[in-house]
Symmetry: C2
């Protein structure tokens, strides 16, 4: 088993700030933090949020041990009264979040934490770590799966993942993104995922000859076996030996559920065509061809376009590390403070870069769907207590190019509030679906997008707007600072 407590997975400044709030008597001041990102990775048309289950576990398990407190004590800057506070630390706030697998867009709060500032501050780095990682890999997986256009994508990344967690949670996220299976036994055990695998070169090399290696493997796993045919020479040794074994099994009346070969080097396009022809000629039209070797969505799309005869793709390094964009830029920003009487002070972070100016206030995200097609028309980031009457016309506008306007006719659209309650007053009120349920939900949710939004390159971008009320609040706050 694999249990852990990540209470100390925090940046040091979180502790110095927490003590600051504590000693200044500010620690009970309620703060609202948003966890959001500013840009889709890979210039994708959307992202997939993932990691909420682990974020929940993290919050539930928050507890400082004596070892933790001793470590902090030794730093010589923390007062005993603050360490005592930590000893009894418990998260008492509210968390709202967008469920895992949901299609999400820049600037939308994926999580909204409302809690005494001393508590909310502690959560920053760990929540970002968890959500950033899994959202990144889930989004990458969606791209690889879409490039496969119905083929099976097998997640093969343990050996190149950035540490054990990156392999385990990366595999989880890859399944949320639509992979058909993983080779990661620990991830499969923990999250009940479909497993797949073939054989390694060492299996072939540990026999005196390739034919014996293939024969023994097929004998052991007659219902499902994939022979790795490139240890010595794919077309001149691997294929003839594989065909011999397939023939022997056919002669013996075997009817495997899944059998075939794996290509792991050489030109996968060319080899797959040769191999397909050899298999078909020998009557093994149902034998599958799988491939691995530095694959990603770009190479898979290319190979498919040139007619490669591969239907099962083992994707390792470039999926599990998200090679061409290995970080999801989620941030955690203060949006409001609530005083004891319940009145809200909006907070904004300014910047010379307009995209880095935060959206103030307690917010939610309304997704607007076309009633006829069920497709998404736009998202509207709004103040959390705004009410939209869907029987009335709704005019929305781009928050940068404000002349870009769209009116949804009353009665022709419906809305969904994306944020759902996860913790209320420190109690978890949410039960995470299984990973395969999340994957199915995500698949359906992606179908509410238009094909144009799902393109690999240069996708059409849906309007992600601010409600008029939020837009005006933001402008006012920016002007107010300018005047100072």
């Amino acid at each position: 088993m694999y249990e852990k407590n990540l209470t100390m997975l925090a940046d040091f400044y979180e502790f110095t700030m927490m003590q600051g709030y504590f000693l200044n008597g500010m620690h009970k001041q309620v703060a609202v933090f948003d966890l959001f990102f500013r840009k889709n990775p890979f210039d994708n048309g959307f992202s997939i949020t993932a990691g909420l289950e682990q974020a929940i576990e993290y919050i539930k398990n928050l507890k400082f041990s004596e070892v933790d407190l001793d470590f902090l004590r030794q730093k010589g800057i923390f007062r005993e009264e603050f360490l005592e506070y930590l000893e009894n630390f418990k998260f008492t706030g509210d968390v709202y979040a967008i469920p895992e697998g949901t299609v999400v867009f820049p600037h939308e709060p994926l999580m909204r934490i409302t809690a005494p500032i001393i508590e909310a501050q502690l959560l920053e780095s760990a929540l970002l770590n968890i959500i950033n990682h899994q959202s990144l890999i889930a989004t990458k997986a969606v791209r690889v799966v879409n490039a496969g256009a119905g083929d099976k994508i097998m997640e093969f990344g343990i050996r190149r993942a950035q540490g054990p967690d990156a392999a385990i949670y990366g595999s989880r996220a890859a399944m949320i993104g639509g992979c058909a299976s993983t080779s990661n036994v620990e991830a499969a055990r923990r999250f009940d995922l479909p497993l797949s695998g073939t054989m390694a070169h060492s299996w072939v090399m540990s026999f005196t000859d390739e034919l014996s290696a293939f024969r023994e493997y097929a004998k052991l796993y007659p219902d499902s076996f994939i022979l790795l045919i490139d240890t010595y020479n794919t077309l001149e040794s691997g294929m003839p030996n594989a065909l011999k074994v397939f023939s022997e099994l056919r002669d013996a009346g075997a009817t495997p559920h899944l059998y075939g070969v794996r290509l792991d080097s050489g030109d996968l396009g060319y080899l797959s065509k040769c191999v397909r022809a050899m298999l078909d000629e020998a009557g093994f039209t149902d034998a599958i061809i799988s491939a691995s070797s530095d694959l990603d969505e770009y190479l898979i799309a290319n190979l498919k376009a040139e007619g490669a005869k591969i239907t099962h793709w083992g994707v390792g390094t470039k999926l599990i590390t998200s090679t061409d964009c290995p970080a999801f830029g989620g941030v955690y920003k203060l949006a409001a403070e609530i005083d004891e009487g319940g009145s809200v002070a909006h907070k904004i972070k300014l910047s010379e870069n307009p995209d880095k100016i935060t959206n103030p206030g307690i917010k939610t995200v309304f997704r607007l769907y076309d009633r006829k097609t069920g497709k998404v028309k736009a998202d509207l980031i709004s103040l959390h207590d705004e009410v939209i009457d869907t029987e009335k016309d709704l005019t929305i506008f781009d928050p940068v190019s404000t002349w870009l306007r769209m009116t949804l006719k009353g009665g022709e659209y419906f809305i969904k509030d994306l944020l759902v309650p996860i913790f209320i007053n420190g109690e978890c009120v949410y039960s995470s679906p299984s990973v395969m349920e999340i994957a199915e939900f995500s698949k359906q949710d992606q179908l509410t997008l238009w094909d144009e939004n799902r393109r690999l390159f240069n996708p059409n971008l849906l309007p992600i707007d601010l409600s008029e009320k939020l837009f005006n609040l933001k402008l006012e706050m920016i002007f107010e600072f300018d005047v100072k």
Copy 2:
């Protein structure tokens, strides 16, 4: 605390192959596997090996639980006798490895595992995961540290790391690579690392004004405080307020050990020069300027070249994910088998790509140093039982361009066998140094390189050759396959 067992962190094919070896009665056959890589990441002139301590823990903790075995049983393809074998699984073999922090090169065995093939096969994916990750981040850190040219590099990556382990072990590896400190409290606690941190925008925003936020922080941590000055406007708000606080403290007679400001947005080069001038003019010549914001070795080198006045660099995303090359391509390949009488069968994996042909046999790495300067002349990958008489001349040659030859004069060089025993007959015989000891060792080891090898771009590459005996063995084996 944070305890874990990674026994099931394996690719599924490892279990199907293990059962294959077991049922074929091959499982006691002793195999020799090499863990090596084929290319330095970032086109660096060398790499740093790291992660051995975690690899050792992993091997020591190997133990299948009932839950693990039940999971495998449910797959319906594993026989009870094999599951019983797993129940009593224990690693009984030998492991040799190159100690952490050592400068290493492509094709050198970083680890050599000699064990019954069924045991050695299980270790493949987890060892690769651990060594690949930490070696990658340690090597990246060396580059960032070298770009800093004596400045302090602070590791700030938790929030963008690929999961909790990537943050924790990534921080460990970054320190091995020469970072001065980390912001990661869990990593610091676990590995006794120097911590550093400043403040977040939320601290500043949670006060009614910036000046109060700065003043309170400085009052709390008078010995060491860095003020984040970009929440509203770096030069027009942050700096005047910071100077006010510095002056107040000076007037009160305070003598902080470390104080200064942090830039986190805008043009760091320009701002740092303005800020330095403002600090100096006010007499705060000892105040430091730190910076963060998507930094990496390229940007740091550039900023330093243009005269930026930054001496403390907080490096997050691009170090902890190794953005421009997020995977270290380590592989685990069968090199030999040893029968009960002790005779060795060499194993080779062929490929159309010459760089992918493995080096057969039980090998070690001799590092050849110039006696006068102590600098490395070359590495020689050799069969493990070769003896080099350093009193005699030694001629070495490039294994590809064999006409490239170099003769080391007898008496003018000395050698070091890089691989040291870690496990013997399943017992760990090695005690890992502390992370900071490894970091110091690595710093010294890097000084045995020439400046030309350590360049950020287009470094000079040291000769990494094969011994004549190993070269001839490899050629013979390639020709032998050709004839077949």
